[in-house]
């Protein structure tokens, strides 16, 4: 009987295995891979697929945590990017191309500027704006996905100990930002209690901004003090010279990484800037981090280990990025469809597979724990 009960309780437990949130670095690698893929193409079909894949994964796998709530903002940002691009093409577009879709009066600016405004709007220039905008928008959404899916605090824990000054600032910002929204709400509610100052917008804005900023500042200081009092960034005595050397190494490493990453993503940059800079920047940075991290001793309560699911997730994004890079060299035609003359964009099987690779997290990542369900209501009750 006892064994039966034990069996039953165990089986009930196995029905709902504890959900393991994926390693935040895995999410970032996945998203960066997709972003890299997007940077290689202007094909609207492929970009649309990339967008759909990203949004689908976020919708299915994000938790209800505060940082996940920002994803719609990235979508809005993306929409604005596309709309602005289209608007600029209408205003500054000139009349390249032959298929005119809209006749607008042409405004000649003084000869010396060599610019004209408005004029005939062609399908070619509109589409080129749309493609460009879509590419940027997709990259933006990919970054937003990483932000929504990866727990930023766990990500910080994955950072080396040496960067603790940076991470203090980030932790403070992470904690204060959601509270900022709350205090904006609170102050707006409070403001309704006092007759509105009649002396114009500035005073009205002041009455919102000043209490909110004071609140944010107070909270940041309290949090920083609490972190300090609880031993954050403890280290032995470190010589001043070591500190300067590590700072120099870190900064130059970061510069190298930035140049390398830029050249790597921009297909038109000279190749010798890409990989060599990336690697040397990485090496210099690692040395700096190693040096400065020697003083700091920490341990991890639940260390974030890499499991098969994490590796698979990261790989799926990276494969998508890599396949696009290879295709860009071998068969660039499909990645950037011709505008002059206009052509229907097409998809090759390889690129479709590459994009669909990005869906793998739907399998590898479990549903995120829903610890935050219903909590927002409770929060309003305990303001």
């Amino acid at each position: 009987m006892a064994t039966l009960t034990a069996y039953l309780t165990r089986s009930r437990r196995t029905e709902q295995p504890p959900v393991r949130a994926l390693h935040p670095v895995a999410w970032w690698l996945w998203a960066l891979g997709l972003a890299a893929a997007a940077s290689r193409t202007t094909n609207p079909l492929l970009l649309g697929m990339l967008l759909a894949v990203t949004v689908l994964v976020v919708a299915a796998r994000r938790s209800d945590a505060p940082w996940a709530g920002a994803f719609p903002l990235y979508l809005w940002g993306a929409a604005i990017v596309v709309a602005l691009r289209l608007l600029f093409r209408c205003v500054f577009g000139g009349d390249q191309g032959i298929v005119v879709v809209l006749h607008l009066p042409l405004i000649e600016l003084p000869q010396i500027t060599g610019l004209t405004l408005l004029g005939n709007v062609t399908a070619e220039s509109l589409l080129s704006g749309l493609y460009d905008g879509l590419r940027l928008a997709t990259m933006l959404v990919c970054l937003g996905a990483a932000n929504a899916l990866a727990n930023p605090r766990r990500l910080l824990r994955a950072l080396p100990a040496a960067l603790h000054e940076v991470s203090t600032a980030v932790v403070v910002a992470l904690s204060v930002f959601p509270q900022l929204a709350e205090s904006v709400n609170r102050v707006r509610r409070a403001r309704r209690l006092r007759p509105a100052p009649s002396s114009g917008r500035v005073a009205r804005l002041r009455s919102l901004v000043i209490p909110v900023l004071e609140d944010a500042l107070d909270r940041s200081l309290l949090l920083a003090a609490s972190m300090d009092a609880r031993g954050y960034g403890r280290r032995g005595q470190q010589a001043v010279l070591t500190g300067r050397v590590t700072a120099g190494l870190l900064v130059s490493g970061l510069c190298g990484l930035a140049v390398g990453a830029y050249a790597g993503l921009d297909a038109t940059a000279p190749r010798y800037l890409a990989l060599p800079f990336l690697l040397s920047g990485l090496a210099v940075g690692l040395i700096g981090i190693g040096l400065s991290g020697r003083g700091v001793v920490r341990s991890a309560y639940r260390s974030d280990s890499w499991a098969a699911a994490d590796v698979a997730t990261a790989t799926s994004g990276l494969i998508a990025g890599a396949l696009f890079s290879v295709t860009a060299k071998v068969d660039p035609h499909y990645l950037s469809p011709s505008l002059y003359p206009l052509e229907w964009p097409q998809i090759t099987p390889v690129s479709a597979v590459a994009v669909l690779c990005g869906l793998l997290p739907l399998v590898t990542a479990g549903r995120s724990p829903r610890a935050y369900v219903g909590a927002s209501i409770a929060a309003r009750q305990h303001p």
Partner: protein
Amino acid sequence: MITFDRFSFWYAGRQVPTLEAVDLRIGDGEFALVTGRTGSGKSTLLRAVNGLVPHFTGGHVEGRVVSVGRDTRDFPPREFADRVGLVGQDPLAGFVTDTVEEELAYGMEQLAVSPQVMRRRVEEVLDLLGMAPLRSRPLRYLSGGEQQRVAIGAVLTSTPKVLVLDEPTSALDPAAAEDTLSAVLRLVHDVGVTVLAAEHRLERVLEYADRLIVVDERRVCDGHPSELMRTAPLAPPVVQLGRLAGWKPLPMSVRDARRRASTLRADLAAVPLPTRSEVGDARDGLVARRVTVTYGKTVAVRAVDVDLRPGEVVALMGRNGSGKSSLLEALQGALRRSHGSVTVAGSDPARIDRSQAAGLVALVPQQASDLLFADTVEAECRLSDDASRMPSGTTRAVLDELLADESVPNASHPRDLSDGQRLALVLGIQLVCRPRVLLLDEPTRGLDYDAKGRLSSRLSALARSGLAVMVATHDVEFAAYASSRVLVLAGGELITNTATSAALTASPVFAPQVAKVLAPVPLLTVDDVAQAMVSSAERIGLS
């Protein structure tokens, strides 16, 4: 364990020290209680124990502080993490992680404790503080009492020898405060932690303290509570009652006092009850019927009827989250109600515009500073005159009338004012339109006994001038002093609506100390007792 040696401290740019020549020795395992007026330097004293003062705040230091064998001059606060655990006033502001378990582990991670030991200590602390069911809950959505216990637990896991608590119960309702205090006392008795705690509401902790540290005008003196309490400027009601009745030694707890009070009870039982002043008709004040407020699917306030009559001060009580703030905002009209009606002098404050509504109902929110945004008191008053279209100088005049004996200089920044002065300033601004009803949300937070007394007499003066006043408060003693009627909310429903004397003597949780000592005599405050003693003496003289 902690030694202050001729310690003086000046904040940067100040001519006058905040603390001067402090000498203190706190032994191992003591429970030391720090008390003093608002702004007297209690927090500075506490933060000096682990070196946050001066390492984090900046400033000038003379003398020294040695905590658990380390001089704060030689080590930054983070090197004290395994020796001194500091819990601030607002636990939520100090949380670094997202969930209870992570927060408990955070300090140990910084100290590089091995994972096995961390697991064990987290479990121990969860059990010690009775938080095991909370372990994976997000911190932001815990109740105030739970947050406070997590904050204490989070420093305990680093096994400090000293625990420093800055007003651990100031934001909590009576029941949550009891929870937190009993957790702290268990630590003192079972674990042997040395505790240094600041607290305004002495009535809650005085009886447990081994040592009392009084911070007054930059100076610090310490000694046994029963000796220091004879002359201390701030004393809980039970001590004031003892002083009044001339008991020696002074009682520190309700239990002490009750054992001495048998004759006093007998004397007072024959005295007729003090009558409270007359009140007007609710139709001149505020009439609310079946007020309901919902957030999404949650009902915050459910079909509450409230009458506020001119000339009375009503206390609104109830647990954290029972809907007090929502009810006040709904009565003021700033928060949309989903059902019900509110009528003030024939009109509904929610249906008329903001500046007209200000002439009917004024609300002082929980965080009064949210209403202030100018650089100086003077500018703030000018803005207020301007917004309410009153002749210039009106707000200042209202403020001066409110302040009576205190002063709020025109040139000072609203942030530099004490909590009591800031509250007065906001009151002045909100009263400039001469509303008929005044609502206050938790005004006593951070106020010492004197400031609370002043607020209480201000409110009764306003009521005498014809205002209807309602105060949401957790503070039973304040409600006993200030109010004539008590409303109690639970889960958004009104469960009690009776005279203060009946409401506050009925339940042990809500009874003020004097009522507990004198039960069944229904007297609530030391002033009531003083008055009753006078009339009892007169009766004896007559007969």
